[in-house]
């Protein structure tokens, strides 16, 4: 009975892993096949002839600039959100603030309400304010989207660090800022990495905000560029799957590197929320 359960468990896991990763492996395989072999019957999982033509084609279409934009937007958004979020999280954990409860509810509420619900008024607001179709439109919006989570995880983390730690540092002659910078912040690495990873994934993976907030080709993000590529070149599956792969590598690598912190951050947040 016991070994039987175990066998089923292992089989189930293998099947689950196959379903989760199979499509991505298939896309990678397609991206390496010469165009005339992509629709070959029966399909080959490991291409007998492989080429990097599809990747070169994306570069000749300038898709790498969109890749760069996506990266810059995501990094800018994460830096802004982490800086403001850490300062606010520290302050909420340590200082008496008038209306603190309300502020906390506001951050949690902003975390729960999806950005898409307010995207349309945001677009009109940005058009009226002259922010629409500018280089800072997307970093600003992404920073606003990920900031509540950054505040939440850093605040939870700072609340668990004893005050005595920084007080001891201050007795040793550090200023309060130095005490926080040199003693408290290094210990907050898990919270900061959780927020940074979440923020990068959110910004890099977004399509609907990017397609509605910028218009100029030079400002496009990678997902938007891929959809435009699909629009122009129809079903050029080799190039499109090359695009899928290059769009997937950064967030997946980031996720794999920092999964421990990210999963921990979500589990913590949910237990306390």
């Amino acid at each position: 009975m016991k070994t039987g359960t175990r066998t089923w468990l292992v089989l189930g896991c293998l099947l689950a892993a196959l379903v989760a990763l199979g499509p991505i492996v298939w896309a990678f395989s397609t991206s390496l096949k010469p165009t005339n072999r992509i629709f070959q019957v029966p399909p080959e999982l490991i291409p007998s002839v492989s080429t990097l033509d599809h990747y070169a084609r994306l570069i000749s279409e300038g898709v790498h600039w969109a890749f760069l934009n996506s990266g810059l937007y995501a990094v800018m958004a994460v830096l802004v959100a982490l800086t403001l979020g850490t300062v606010a999280g520290y302050s909420l954990a340590r200082y008496p603030i008038p209306g603190k409860q309300l502020v906390l509810v506001l951050f949690v509420g902003a975390m729960a309400v999806p950005g898409f619900a307010v995207l349309l008024p945001t677009q009109l607001l940005f058009v009226n304010m002259g922010l629409y179709n500018t280089y800072i439109a997307l970093p600003l919006l992404y920073a606003g989207h990920i900031l509540p989570f950054a505040v939440w995880v850093t605040r939870s983390h700072f609340s668990t660090i004893p005050r005595e730690l920084e007080q001891a540092a201050q007795i040793d002659g550090y200023s309060r800022f130095e005490a926080v910078w040199k003693v408290v912040l290094p210990g907050a690495k898990p919270a900061l990495l959780a927020a940074a990873t979440f923020g990068f994934l959110h910004s890099w993976n977004d399509y609907v905000t990017a397609t509605t907030m910028v218009d100029t080709p030079g400002l496009r993000t990678l997902p938007v560029a891929l959809i435009f590529f699909q629009g122009f070149h129809g079903r050029d599956w080799g190039a499109l799957m090359a695009g899928v792969i290059i769009a997937t590598i950064p967030p997946v690598v980031m996720f794999l590197l920092f999964r421990k912190y990210l999963i921990g951050g979500f589990a913590d947040g949910s237990v306390k929320g």
């Binding site: 468990l9 990763l21 896309a27 606010a88 951050f107 008024p121 599956w237």
Partner: protein, 309 residues
């Protein structure tokens, strides 16, 4: 409480008071920038959206106040009701598959120990991907040709290649399955955490009392997991109800509006047709439904005995 005591402490209490005020000012100044950005990006647009929903706005031109006309038109439109229905089918269809799947995975993950956390990581890879990229990927997987992955599987089992995404009956279930593929593992994170908090002794005691595996699941696991389940269901409901990117990428609301959910209708009305007054009315309706759904789930699961135990 005597007057002398108060008088002697006046100086020090005044000093203390000014320090307290100063720390409050410093604290507020530190929260300020984050608060301003969050309010500006997440809260302000909601109010602006409500304001715009009361006006006729078309192609970025505000043509004046129309009261509730946008809402009246919206609720008179049978397509809007159809979209609400499609949203409910998509949301609850996805939940009905994702939640049990996440629960089973979470139980498997806990049982497997270290291998379990590897499995969780693998299952989360699709969640780390961009939804629109997931849509592109699945469009290729589902391509109706014997050279496509699903086409080849069909061909091997003797079924002619079918275009699942343009079939009026099959398009919605296909979207649901892809949505579940993309993010059910996120729910498994929280459920795995929740399972870890149930004391193992309870299961030992249950075994001593002669409870079978199913009964132990029903009487221990399920009620004690209720708070985590509530979180998971609320989060997934919001996520599925507002899903729009995979729909844009996979079906564009078709065929014959079969996958036009309220979220897609908002996208189409507001950003494609540029009927922004009406689009904002849809956004406000969506916002209200979101709030309602959260309240409902909290009520349902709050009645279960698990919360008290």
């Amino acid at each position: 409480m005597t007057t002398t005591a108060i008088e002697t402490s006046v100086d020090s209490s005044r000093a203390l008071h000014s320090v307290a005020r100063k720390t409050k000012i410093v604290g507020s100044a530190l929260v300020g920038p984050a608060l301003i950005l969050v309010v500006a990006i997440n809260v302000l647009p909601a109010f602006y959206g409500f304001y715009l929903s009361l006006r006729q706005v078309f192609f970025f031109a505000d043509e004046g106040y129309v009261g509730l006309q946008n809402y009246v038109d919206l609720f008179r439109d049978p397509f809007a009701w159809q979209a609400i229905g499609r949203s409910l089918v998509f949301t609850f269809g996805s939940l009905a598959i994702a939640v049990p799947l996440a629960l089973v995975s979470a139980m498997g993950i806990r049982r497997l120990g270290n291998w379990g956390s590897i499995l969780l990581t693998v299952l989360l890879v699709p969640w780390a991907m961009s939804p629109i990229v997931v849509a592109l990927l699945w469009k290729w997987i589902l391509v109706p040709s014997p050279g496509g992955l699903v086409g080849a599987i069909f061909a091997a089992s003797g079924v002619p290649p079918q275009d699942l995404l343009t079939d009026p009956v099959l398009a919605m279930p296909t979207l649901i399955l892809i949505g579940v593929w993309r993010n059910f593992a996120f729910a498994a994170i929280i459920l795995t955490g929740g399972l870890g908090q149930i004391p193992r002794d309870l299961y030992k005691a249950a075994a001593v009392d002669g409870l079978g595996a199913w009964e132990a699941f029903r009487k221990i696991t399920l009620p004690l997991l209720a708070p985590s389940l509530l979180i998971v269901i609320s989060m997934l409901t919001i996520s599925y109800f507002n899903e729009v990117q995979t729909i844009i990428g996979l079906t564009g609301g078709g065929p014959i509006r079969q996958t036009t959910t309220l979220g897609y209708l908002l996208y189409h009305t507001g950003f494609v047709e540029l009927d922004q007054g009406r689009g904002n009315a849809i956004a406000i309706v969506m916002f209200m439904i979101n709030m309602l759904l959260i309240a409902l789930y909290i009520k349902i699961l709050g009645k279960q005995p698990g919360a008290a135990a």
